[in-house]
């Protein structure tokens, strides 16, 4: 299953020129608000028709302006989860979930309804009305509704953006499970580095109507130049390691190429490979090995580059073992510590600042037919 997208469109002032491909698994469309992410998924879904271009999923052409082909939205079989859920207010949860079933061509997979309800925890909600659901429940129903239409492609347009941090944490595990269960392409629009780091196998960075970069989340977010495109707050390395031990005090230790990391609260089991995101702003640098410090993670590292990130800020790229780290520090510190390429130093990260990232190699089980 491969989705290929390539289109151009003229809006009064801003032009859109988008081209990317997405295979099975989660491809994140990442970028600032107004960069053209939602317009791109709308073009894939058939809710927006660009001036020219070609969009195809395997052998099915959704759009080919050179041949005059425009497949209407209802014949594309694209599951679309909107930011605002868009549940039908006059139907119960059951009615919403069942809406797409009658339009599925060919035999309906009877066991699917139960599996999707289990996957998303929808069974207790079935007889309720959309207005009686919380924001998080609505999004889960919207995801279930899209899946039960048996799509060949799933589009998620900032499904967590309207939720508070707590609700986000409640839904993310469902999305992570979804990612492991589905074997078709999933486009995930987001401007949250955390969400992208935790879910995506592939990232397409969209900036000002153009594809600025594509690559793995690790490569994208540890890239020095990304800070300039997307803002320094997005910078941060993704590091993959093997779980060593789950300690009785709630910490989990992880072997990475540059040493051992401790992180707080994780349900990973020993031996499992996990990815953690180390945001550039959470990294301290020290020339000497610090002692008497509350931070548990101290990795020896060598400086690769020091870049002016504007104003009083410097972005430092480090090599720690085989991994690369980024650190945001002040220009003053960089000067006082005499940091320059080749300098040996220590990168310090608080355990509480470490977020669990996505599974680097999602297992693609074919449990839902495409």
């Amino acid at each position: 299953m491969k989705l290929s997208v390539s289109f151009r469109h003229r809006f009064g002032e801003a032009d859109l020129d988008i081209a990317f491909e997405a295979g099975p698994g989660v491809t994140a469309l990442f970028g600032r608000s107004g960069a053209g992410k939602t317009t791109s998924v709308n073009a894939v879904a058939g809710l927006f028709q660009p001036d020219e271009g070609r969009i195809a999923l395997d052998k099915t052409t959704f759009l080919d302006t050179s041949k005059g082909i425009v497949l209407p939205a209802h014949r594309r079989r694209v599951g679309y989860v909107f930011q605002d859920a868009r549940l039908f207010p006059h139907l119960s949860v059951r009615g919403n979930l069942g809406f797409g079933a009658r339009f599925v061509p060919g035999p309906i997979d009877a066991s699917m309804s139960g599996r999707v309800q289990d996957l998303l925890g929808l069974t207790p909600l079935l007889d309720r009305r959309p207005r009686d659901l919380s924001g998080g429940e609505r999004q889960r129903v919207a995801i279930g509704r899209a899946l039960l239409a048996q799509p060949r492609l799933l589009l998620l347009d900032e499904p967590l953006a309207a939720l508070d941090a707590e609700r986000k944490e409640q839904i993310l595990p469902y999305l992570a499970r979804l990612r492991k269960e589905m074997d078709f392409p999933i486009l995930y629009v987001s401007h949250s580095v955390d969400e992208v780091a935790r879910l995506a196998a592939h990232v397409v960075v969209i900036d000002a109507g153009r594809v600025a970069r594509t690559g793995s989340p690790g490569a994208i977010f540890s890239d020095m130049s990304i800070a300039g495109t997307l803002g320094a707050r997005t910078a941060g390395a993704l590091i993959t390691g093997k779980v060593l031990e789950r300690h009785s005090d709630g910490l989990t230790s992880l072997t990475v190429s540059g040493g051992v990391l401790y992180l707080a609260g994780s349900d990973a089991v020993p031996g499992e490979r996990v990815t953690v995101r180390i945001a550039a702003e959470d990294v301290l640098l020290s020339r000497l090995r610090p002692e008497g410090l509350s931070a548990l993670n101290i990795l020896p590292a060598t400086i690769l580059a020091v870049e002016d990130a504007g104003g009083p800020e410097r972005l430092v790229q480090l090599q720690a073992g085989e991994d690369r780290l980024l650190a945001r520090i002040t220009a003053r510190s960089a000067q006082v510590l005499e940091l320059s390429p080749g300098t040996v130093c220590y990168a310090i990260v608080k355990s509480m600042a470490l977020a669990m990232g996505g599974d680097p190699n999602p297992k693609l089980k074919s449990s839902i037919p495409s």
Binding site: H74, R77, G100
Partner: protein, 231 residues
């Protein structure tokens, strides 16, 4: 003692029959026209909008006269309908229903159009991505969401049809048992000295029906709004 005399019952019954058929017959056309005006951009849309609203502002006697010269037995269309299908409008209750339908039409269209415009089109787009072809989207999403608005419009249109006077009396005259509805009956009674009591009874019926219709219409309109907003 009887509440209403035979002639009064006849007028009330005929009014109800005329209004019922007037509302029922104009409803599908009103939904189509309201949908077209709310959603489609086409040449002549402006003219259609004017045409729909014309009965609201035109003197009813003019509307009645235009109907007479179009559907009268000697008018081309009226004569054709009579010869080809045996349908006569002039001086029949069917003509009264037609006059009432045309006078109620703008009210129906306005109410339905407002509820169509209040529908969140993003819901229809969502239904499309779930595989629903456009007609299904209309039948399963748009129609249920606007239904209270449609019913409210129908109630209002029905009340308007019950009260129609000018176009009716011009087009189909005031024939007891055939075209004499409540308003034309009241008019006839008021021409006769000493008939104030039966006139007053019909006036009371008229007021009760109108107020009742307004209340029902208002309640349904509120419910329509709530439903569209998903509350």
């Amino acid at each position: 003692m009887e509440l209403f005399s035979g002639a009064e019952w006849q007028a009330i019954g005929l009014s109800l029959r005329v209004s019922f058929w007037a509302t029922l017959a104009s409803m599908p056309v009103a939904v189509l026209v309201a949908y077209a005006l709310a959603r489609w951009r086409f040449p002549g849309r402006f003219l259609l909008n004017i045409l729909v609203h014309l009965p609201l502002v035109l003197p009813p006697v003019v509307t009645g006269y235009l109907l007479l010269v179009t559907f009268g037995t000697r008018a081309p269309i009226g004569a054709f309908l009579e010869q080809a299908f045996g349908i006569t409008f002039a001086f029949r209750w069917t003509g009264a229903a037609m006059a009432a339908a045309i006078m109620a039409f703008p009210l129906l269209v306005r109410a339905i159009r407002l509820s169509i415009e209040a529908v969140d089109r993003r819901l229809e787009a969502a239904a499309g991505t779930l595989g629903a072809p456009p007609f299904w989207v209309f039948a399963t999403i748009t129609m249920p969401l606007i239904l209270p608005g449609v019913v409210a419009g129908a109630v209002l249109g029905f009340a308007k049809a019950m009260g129609e006077f000018g176009a009716t009396i011009t087009f189909v005259s005031n024939i007891p048992g055939e075209t004499q509805t409540i308003p034309t009956a009241i008019y006839a009674l008021l021409q006769v000295p000493g008939a104030e009591a039966p006139a007053a009874r019909l006036i009371a019926v008229s007021i009760a029906l109108s107020v009742g219709a307004l209340i029902v219409s208002e309640v349904l309109a509120t419910r329509a709004t709530r439903r569209v907003e998903g509350r």
